[in-house]
Structure formats: C-alpha cells, structure tokens
Amino acid sequence: MTDAPTDRPPPERGEPTTTAGKLRLKQKAGGIIPPILTAIFAFFIGGLVILASGANPFDAYAGILEGAGINWFWDHFGNTDVLDLSTFNLTQTLLRTTTFALTGLAVAFAFRCGLFNIGGQGQYTMGVVVGVWVGAYWSDALPAGIHVVVGIVLAGLAGALWAGIAGILKATVGAHEVITTIMLNWIAFWFASYCFGQGGPLQNTRAGSESVPISDSVYDNGVFIPILWGDEGLQALHYGIFLAVAALIAFYLVINRTTLGYEVRAVGFNPEAAAYGGISVKKNFFLAMAISGLFAGLAAAVDIFGWKYTAGTLDVQASAVGFVGIAVALLGRSTAIGVGLAAFIFGALDYGTTRGLDPEVFDPTLAGNLSLMIQGLVVLFVGADLLILYLWSLRRKRFASPRMSGKGA
C-alpha cells in the first residue's frame, strides 16, 4: 500500500504499471463494447434482485425510467414550454447529471494520472461549506453577479485544497491516496456537521429556527445562478449545466491538447518511464489531485448556487455524490464524452429510483439502495474488464469473421 521505493522488480519495458495505464490498454483493446456490456450486466443483476424481492423487474425499470423523466423525449421532445410531470422529472435528472458530471471528472482526472481519488465526497463537502459561507454569510455589498462567480471560484478552490492535501502526502511521503482521501472525507463530514449544526458558525440566523441544523440561504442573500428551464419555485434547471459542459470540454482539451495533460497521462501510464523522460512525477501527482478536487468543489458550487441554496447537517451526512462520481468515471472510461453520458445515466438512475419513482410501482427506499448496488456492480465489472472481454471474445470466436479475428483482445 505504499509507493515508497521497494525492492520490487522493475516493470518490463512499455508495460503500464498503474491502474489507469492498464485500463487504458484494455480499453483500446475492447473499445466501446465493455462499458456497454458492463452497464447491461449491472442492470441485469439489479433486475434479478428486484425479482427476488417479489416485484416485476420490467415494471420497476419502466417506473424508474418514467421517474427520471425519460418519457419527455417521446412525449414532448423539443417542446420546452410544457411544464408537466415528465418535464419536471427530466429537469431533476439533469440537475443531478450536472453534479455527477463534475464529480465524475473529479475521479476521472486523477485516474488519468494513475491516482484513485475516492475523496470526491469530502472535496464536495468542503466546497459546500465554503460556497454557503461566501454566498449566504458575506454581506451583499458585492454585485450579485460577481458574488456568484466569487462563490463558485472559492468553492472550487476549497475542493482543490482539500484534494491537494492528499496530493501533497502522495507526492512527498507516498501515503496512498485511497486511505488519505477517505480520512479527509470523514474529516470534512464532521467539519461540515459542526459548521451547520447546533451552535455552529454557519447555522442559520433566522428567528424561530435556532434549533434547526441548517445554514442560511444563498438565495435570500440574492446570490444564485439564474433559471434555465422550469418553474422557478420548484427546483428548476439552472445555467450551471453549462458549467458542467464547459468542464467536460476543458477536461478533453487539457488532457489531450496541453503539456500538462500529456505529462499527467504519461505519469498515469507508467510513472517510472515518465520520470525517466524528465517529467516530475511529484508535481503531477499534486496537480492532478488538486485539479480533481477543483471539479468536485465546482460540483458543490453548482448545487448550492443552482438549486439547493442551503446546506444542513443531514444533507451533508446523507450525500453520496462523490461516490457516484467513481461509478460515473469508471463507466465513462475517464473520457469527457463517456463521463457526460455516464453522468446522465446515473443522474436518471438517482432521481428515477428515489423521489421520481411512483411508490405504487416499486418502493423508492428499496430502489434507492438498488441504485447503490448497480453502481457497485458497474465498478466491479469495470475493474474486471478481463471478464467482459473474455465473454466478448467467446462471442467473437463463435461468430468468428475473418475481419475481426485479427484483433486480439
């Protein structure tokens, strides 16, 4: 579990030594097929679980799709003026897609550098604390537009700082980022619980709610992101979705078109080889973690300024968006397009299995846990690309065609 120099045998030439490097290789071998099979597998096993608990999986999945507002696409596609249930559900799905795309990028960027950032949750939480502090507790002397931008930037930096701690520890003493980020998650968890809790510095100042562990509202302070689609009183979709799109594009450009991206990928593929080529592994470990944290902090910013407006101890303690980011990044293969698509799938799954789901069709408390299981299965199968590729190659052998048999998996 350490990365301190040991007497391990040196890697063979050209062979990737890190998780990310190996996955890149497998991905090239398997293309788009493994992620699709992975998702199908995970949902299939989820269906078996539904069957085991006595419900009809097809009805349950149809209910989840409807709960996620996917039926909008065939009911009113292209018509954004109808404000019915399917529109509402779809906007809720897109709200979550925005968050998950950013937390997904938080995992994906570190992954490209060979680091496994499972601290997205803590980085998100620190972003929430700083976002609420700036948005709701700073005086409204700043013009609202600038205030929002300052809030978003500082929330992002809070995430970057929090991840940066793990980055520095990795770079200097070689502490494994999985353990340090998990510990930072829990420290952030209790720190935020303290801030928003009884007598905490960010607990609300409203008369009569002194015992409620919730912060003041950034909305009441006039600091929020404007509405894009939906009814303003009912958690509508906000312009923050464009921030997520911009982040996806920035991710693609930085990774594929800049020196930083080249170095990050080189370290991710094989740190020893990268160091031999004159790239500072330590610097890239730190930068990759900090940039990852920046994405997670931005996810918090769009949530706070876009639609949640307040944060409370219960919100902080129940939130799992950082962990969804892991499944999003792995299913999306740590590519910009993949993360965007996976974020939509998990956004739909998240809303469709909880509040969007009709309790008559399937119990939402059960379904919420079902979506956790599906996330876990997705991660499991992505980790086991070999299984997927093996099954796929069996299929290839059975329907062997001369064109395909040349490519080894």
Binding site: M1, T2, A4, T6, D7, R8, T19, L23, V49, S53, F116, I118, L169, V173, G174, A175, H176, V178, I179, T180, I182, M183, L184, N185, W186, I187, W190, F191, S193, Y194, G197, Q198, G199, G200, F323, I326, A327, L330, D363, T365, L366, G368, N369, L370, S371, L372, M373, I374, Q375, G376, L377, V378, V379, L380, V382, G383, A384, D385, L386, L387
Partner: protein, 409 residues
Amino acid sequence: MTAMAEPLGAAVVTPKRVGVVGFIAGMLAFWVALPPIHARSIVVPVILAALAVAAGVYAVRGGSVRVGWSAIVLGFIGLGLGYLATRSSVGNLEIVFTWSTLIASMLVFATPLMFASLGGIFSERSGVINIGLEGMMLMGAFWGIWGADKTGNWITGVLVGMAAGGLLGLLHAFFSVHLRADQIIGGTAINLMAIGITGYAFVQLYGTENIPAGVSEIPRLQLSFLDRIPPDTVGNFLYGAFGRLSVMIWIGFLFVIIAHFVMFKTPLGLRLRSTGEHPRAADTVGISVYAMRYFGVTLSGVLAAAGGAFLSVGVISSFNENMTAGRGFIALAAVIAGNWRPFGSLFFACLFGFSTALAFRLGDAYRDSVAGLDVLAQMLPYVLTLIIVAGVIGKSMPPASVGRPYTKQ
C-alpha cells in the same frame, strides 16, 4: 565533553535515543496536567515541552530526522494540550480522563479494528490488497444482527455475519485472483455494493421499523476478582478497565495471538507469506498461489465481518445504514502502520480506539460549555489516522508482490 569521554558518550547518548527521550517528554507535558497528577501550573508542561523540543533538535542535527521531528512536533502539541488542560476545570478533566473507563472504552472501539486489521493482514500477506474491508465489516454488522435476531442467539448471529463477510471476500478473491481485476477498484466496488446490499436487505426485511429491542447481545465477561486486588485504587482501576469487557474483546486478543502464531510459526503462514512476497518462487516449489490467495482474502472477509458483527451485536444492538463509518479504512491504516504484523496492528488499533474513546468523552464533558465540540471531536480518529499514515509510510515495508495479480505459467 572531553575527547576521551566521547566514544563512551557516543555509544550511550545516540541522537536517536535523545529523540526518543524528547518524544516521551512531549507526551508527559500533556499527561502531567491530567488526573491523577493534575499539575495546575503551566510551568511543568512548559519545562517538559522545552525539553522535548531541545532533544528533538539535537536528534535532528545528529541525523535522526524522523524521531527528532516527531519529538519537536509532539513537544508543541503537548504544550498546547497541557495549557488547555491546566485551564480546564478539574471536574471536566475527571470526566474525560477517568482512566479505567477510558481504557475500557478504548478496547470497545479498538476491537472492530483489531478483527478487521487481522483480516487485512491475511489478505495483504497473501498478495491481495483489500480496500473492501469496510464493506465486509458492514456485511458482518447487518447479517450478524439479523442472525442474532432470527436465531435468538448471538453466537449464531456472529457466525452468520462472518459467513456473509466471507462470501464477499470470496467474491473479491474471484475477481482479483482468477479475473486479475484491479484490486483497488474491486475493493471499492465491494464497499459500494455492501452499502447497497445491507441497505436493501434492511429495508426489505425490517421495513420502516428498526431491529427489535431485546436482540441477543454478546455477553460481558465478569472478572470480579480484579476488584479485590490490593491496594484498592489498583483493584478499582483494573476492574473498571478490564473487569466487564465483552467476550468478543477477549476473543479478539486471542485471535491476535493465534494469527501471529499461524503467520510466523506454521507452514501455512510461510506459504501464505511466500505467495505475497514472490508468487513465482512459491509456485515453483509447489505452493498453489491461487489457493493461498483465495484462503487469505476469504479469511479477511470472515475476520472483518466479525469486527462488524461486534459493532452491531456487541455494542449498539441495532443497525444503521453505513454504520461502519470508515472503520475498515482505519483498520487498513493500522495494518500498514503496524508493518503487516498482528501485534503491530493491535497497537495501532488500540491507538485509534483510544482517540475515538477520547472524542466521545470530550464531547460528554464539554457539550454544554463549548457548542459543537462534541461534533468536532469526532474528527479525532480520522485526523490521527491521516497523520500516522503520513508519518510511518516510508518506514513500513509491504509484502513485495501485494496488488499484483499472478498469472500461472
């Protein structure tokens, strides 16, 4: 110092030893202000802290950098804490530092970590990283209490929990040994799935109600003879600390001894360690690497689940979603800090257990005087884990082939 005396002095007063003395002085700086000594003047902690820093500087200049810096840092921490302690009321200090209660409480919090870290040792010594300890503990926690509830007997309950954890361990073994999946991702998948599975089963089996009251609990072992040991204060202390401990705590100690014996004194342990150090060599002499790794990882699931079952059946007699709260990762840190040895990790499990116990006592004592301190204090074990992981990492030496899948030839 004369030239004649120098060789003799150099042999006895090495920089490292001076550093260790400084380390102890730093701890004493805090300790003297606590019961039963109760130094009420700041002078004593200041002198001890100064001694610690001076010894630390001497050690650093003499080349013992790590010990020296530890002494310096501990000197300052000891001074700060000592100052706080002299400023606190004696009554509050008595609440927090009733040593017998604190030690009993430490052992309660250390036991789940003890079991899980033994599991971690078996898995990692066989060559498989087990990030999934957390999820395996959670499985043990839920299925343990479910078993105790359904069978009406805590023993079968704990065994059911251990079997559930073993199944998850078997799954991890299958993915990391046979499918050669990435072990970190596989472990993360195990954790996500465990949250989903236990949450789903909890809702499915218990609905909106919690585990009914009156579930068979793990009994305490009454050692009333300890109370009669003269003198009275010692007897009271021994009885308070060790006289009413849960049976599982003693079983935990027993397991540590057995694990040490098995790991280092039996052919089985030698085989297990050889597959983690050099699987090819082990294979060459006829040891089945796959069988050893399956054994290690499955056993780690069983042991981690025993720790989880202790939490639910032994401590709170109930179940909450995600109740293990990062303990699996703390156990993993104890494995690393304890150098992959049962007694080493026992020490760190006790240290982490002590910090948790202290956090709860601090919260109890200062809940009314300092708002939110009880929440903030909960960070303590996680901060300590972070510091220890960062501090010891370069010194600990993992099994040479841990995390590297083995391919049979």
